[in-house]
């Protein structure tokens, strides 16, 4: 939707047509999710913050002024929620796993504070082209891990390899995808060795 179209939907919701809010959620989900995912410490946090941002935006909809900035307005709620959650996680110092999450949170906080506004967009189409450029075996492994979110132990069982070997392969796949996604131009076949 164009900003002006979004504002028109907001106006309808503000006037009492609650059903229409769904259109805004559908339209902005990808953008808000991408903003949050690049700064979160877990997928759990991504879901919680994205959901919370849209709920908070709805609750405060009466205060939104129709200036074509609804997307940024929702991301503002997401940013505040993220800031609060990351700060809490960064302070965790007891259990080992909490310390590890705290390290990721500290890194995410730095990014959150550095950027006034988010212009980063993960080009899903490019990432999918990069995925397709992997060898069939690597592509299957990536599909299992990133799309289906299969645990590594099960992938190891399916590929008849050790956990360590699969971990090593996934690191190479991630690295290859990151390089490919960050580049421009045509996507060349990705040479990633997975035994």
């Amino acid at each position: 939707m164009e900003p002006s179209q979004r504002d028109e939907v907001v106006r309808r919701v503000q006037a009492g047509e609650r059903d229409a809010y769904r259109l805004l959620v559908d339209d902005l989900e990808r953008e808000v999710r991408g903003f949050v995912a690049s700064r979160a410490t877990s997928l759990e946090l991504v879901e919680e913050v994205v959901q919370g941002a849209f709920v908070e935006a709805y609750r405060n909809l009466a205060t939104y002024e129709l200036r074509g900035t609804f997307g940024a307005w929702v991301k503002g709620f997401a940013r505040n929620l993220l800031r609060r959650e990351l700060a809490q996680r960064a302070r965790l110092v007891s259990a080992d796993e909490e310390v590890l999450e705290g390290l990721v949170a500290q890194s995410a906080i730095s990014d959150l504070e550095r950027e006034a506004d988010d212009n980063r967009r993960d080009d899903l189409a490019r990432i999918e082209r990069c995925l397709a450029a992997l060898s069939p075996r690597a592509r299957l492994m990536a599909q299992r891990r990133f799309v289906e979110q299969v645990p590594i132990n099960r992938i190891a069982q399916q590929f008849k390899q050790t956990r360590a070997a699969i971990a090593n392969a996934l690191t190479r796949i991630r690295s290859g995808l990151r390089t490919c996604a960050g580049a421009s131009g045509e996507v060349a076949p990705l040479q990633v060795d997975v035994a």
């Binding site: 769904r22 997928l43 259990a95 390290l103 099960r154 090593n168």
Partner: protein, 600 residues
């Protein structure tokens, strides 16, 4: 080499499948090496971005937002409000949830359409995820399947079972579930081989060590479930029973139904009916066993009077401590009591009886004084402190490596977290102390987020005596974020929602329940149930388990399968003993600790 190991641990971290040892190892790796730390953080964040871009959650965002807003607008004021929770495990820790509530006002078309669609989506999701054959799922931390020489570590995702698989429960119970609804819980430390029946035909399991609890759906004629052990075969048509391989032989306990129990060496079987047990001895004997004597309560509720707290008896803290005051006759409940109780009731309540049980040590004026240094300096432990600690004390083997020293000279409990000897001194990563003669609410908190380790701790001697004269303490993975209530002083909860449990919340088992009418209640369960009716239990913080009661580590405990003579004699034999017979569907949550208000 470190990078390769980091990558392996990283993947386990992303799966939330690190063992405590691996978590410690990963932490050490990234804390000691800046390059590895940067690699770890970078890989985690890129993995999340990839996962977010590529993975499609099972429940659409619009549905989740709709449900949250609906819950916002319509609080469950009516006594018969119905909350249905639909969860999917598509993300690291969080169960994406949607709440459907019966409302006084009709739903708007959008909300109803979303809710209906959600039910269909979830139904389809579970259908697509389901497997027609037998599957094994882990309840708790870990287990393994050995198949054709390959060891596969289990996770919370269901793993199909094949004939010939060897299943080993490493640390906590494992649940095997068959397509006809038959379930078999393998005890912590147990090991069995799946001989047959994973797809069709008679189910046959060979129990090599440990114990199992089976709830067997009615089987077809000629396809009885058979559990074989080194000494015996138990042939089951449909019932609930336990089998355990012990040093003396194989013990069978039947909760419901009837089982034909025979020696493997041959001979006529004996029939073991519900409520009875039998032993197939290593000497070739086979006989019914008389039921174990129920532990005699020291006092009845009316006659009991508190005794002073001492190394041999009594309870700590004042009589008016939140932990020692009985719940009044008609307490005011939390307005979300039904929802919170329903959430807890969906889980199996278990006792921490070994790895995360707390060892208690006595100290007196003759006990050596040690310098205790905390890596974490905070209000609880701002500087090195001298503490009387006996020689040779050891913490529990869980990730918190905790122990408690009861200093009878100072009349304080010293609660030490991540305990380690450092020469003659002691190093911890946090701790505190609480006076025996106070109200049990140290400021700042000395143990869990919600209070002292000692407060609410289930003691061995209390099980032996058949009486717990105080509230219990439990942890839950449903602890609420951002709020707590007295006697807690902080929260480590991570979840939101009216059915999450505030740290400090006090639960109570319906006092009107007739415990004598509950079949199969073990002596230990009965003792605990009475305490829950009289004193209830406090949520003391977040835990990895959904519903976990904290207990003293018995001095004679050996491992997860041998929790000590007293616990074992009272039916609390395993590290994560499930309180299966206590009807937690009859729980309620008080508004305040004293039951006088609906909310703090």
């Amino acid at each position: 080499m470190n990078e390769a190991r980091l990558d392996e641990l990283l993947e386990a971290y992303l799966d939330q499948d690190l063992t405590p040892e691996e978590a410690g190892e990963l932490r050490d790796l990234v804390e000691e090496n800046a390059a590895l730390r940067e690699r770890f953080v970078g890989e985690v964040r890129w993995h999340l971005r990839l996962g977010d871009r590529l993975h499609v959650p099972a429940i659409p965002l619009t549905a989740r937002v709709a449900a949250m807003l609906e819950a916002d607008e319509h609080e469950p004021r009516t006594a018969d409000a119905v909350a249905a929770r639909i969860a999917t495990r598509s993300s690291r820790r969080h169960k994406i949830s949607v709440r459907l509530r019966r409302r006084r006002m009709p739903m708007t078309p959008w909300w109803m359409a979303i809710a209906a669609g959600l039910l269909v989506c979830v139904g389809l999701f579970w259908t697509l995820q389901g497997d027609a054959s037998a599957v094994a799922t882990v309840r708790g931390e870990r287990g393994v399947i050995e198949r054709a020489g390959v060891t596969v570590r289990l996770s919370a995702q269901a793993q199909p079972l094949n004939e010939g698989d060897v299943v080993a429960a490493d640390g906590v119970e494992l649940l095997l579930r068959y397509h006809d609804g038959t379930t078999v819980e393998l005890s912590a430390g147990g090991r069995l081989t799946v001989i047959g029946g994973t797809r069709q035909g008679a189910k046959r399991l060979e129990l090599e060590q440990g114990g199992l609890l089976a709830r067997v759906a009615k089987q077809r004629a000629g396809e009885a479930l058979v559990v074989a052990t080194p000494q015996a075969n138990a042939t089951v048509l449909g019932t609930t029973f336990r089998v355990r391989v012990e040093s003396l032989g194989t013990r069978l306990v039947v909760d419901e139904g009837r089982i034909a129990f025979a020696k493997r060496s041959g001979g006529a079987p004996i029939e073991v009916a519900g409520g009875r047990s039998a032993l197939a001895g290593i000497d070739g004997s086979l006989a019914l066993v008389e039921p174990p004597a129920r532990a005699v309560a020291a006092n009845t509720a009316k006659a009991w009077t508190p005794e002073p707290f001492s190394p041999t008896g009594g309870r700590p803290f004042t009589d008016d401590s939140p932990y020692n005051l009985a719940i009044p006759a008609k307490p005011v409940l939390d307005r979300d009591s039904a929802a919170m109780a329903a959430r807890l009731a969906t889980q199996t309540a278990v006792l921490a009886l070994f790895k995360h049980a707390l060892p208690l040590y006595d100290a007196d004026a003759n006990t050596p004084v040690r310098r205790v240094t905390s890596v974490r300096r905070d209000r609880q432990w701002p500087a090195d402190q001298p503490v009387r600690v006996p020689d040779g004390v050891r913490p529990n083997s869980g990730s918190n490596r905790a122990l408690v020293v009861l200093d009878w000279n100072a009349r304080r409990a010293f609660e030490l977290y991540r305990f380690a000897w450092d020469g003659d001194g002691i190093r911890i990563e946090g701790g505190g102390s609480v006076p025996f003669d106070g109200n049990g609410v140290p400021i700042p908190a000395s143990g869990y987020a919600g209070g002292s380790y000692l407060a609410g701790l289930l003691r061995v001697r209390e099980i032996a005596q058949g009486r717990i004269p105080h509230a219990l303490a439990f942890g839950t993975s449903f602890a609420r974020k951002g709020m707590w209530r007295h006697p807690a002083q902080q929260t480590d909860g991570k979840l939101t929602g009216p059915d999450t449990i505030p740290v400090g919340a006090r639960i109570q088992l319906d006092p009107a329940l007739d415990l004598d009418a509950i079949p199969g209640l073990t002596p230990g369960e009965r003792t605990i149930a009475v305490a829950l009716q009289t004193y209830g239990a406090y949520c003391v913080g977040a835990s990895g388990e959904p519903f976990l009661f904290f207990c003293e580590l018995a001095p004679d405990a050996v491992d997860g399968a041998d929790t000590g003579a007293v616990y074992t004699a009272n039916g609390l034999a395993n590290e994560r003993t499930a309180l299966r017979h206590i009807p937690f569907t009859s729980l309620r949550v008080l508004g305040t600790w004293d039951g006088r208000a609906a909310a703090p």
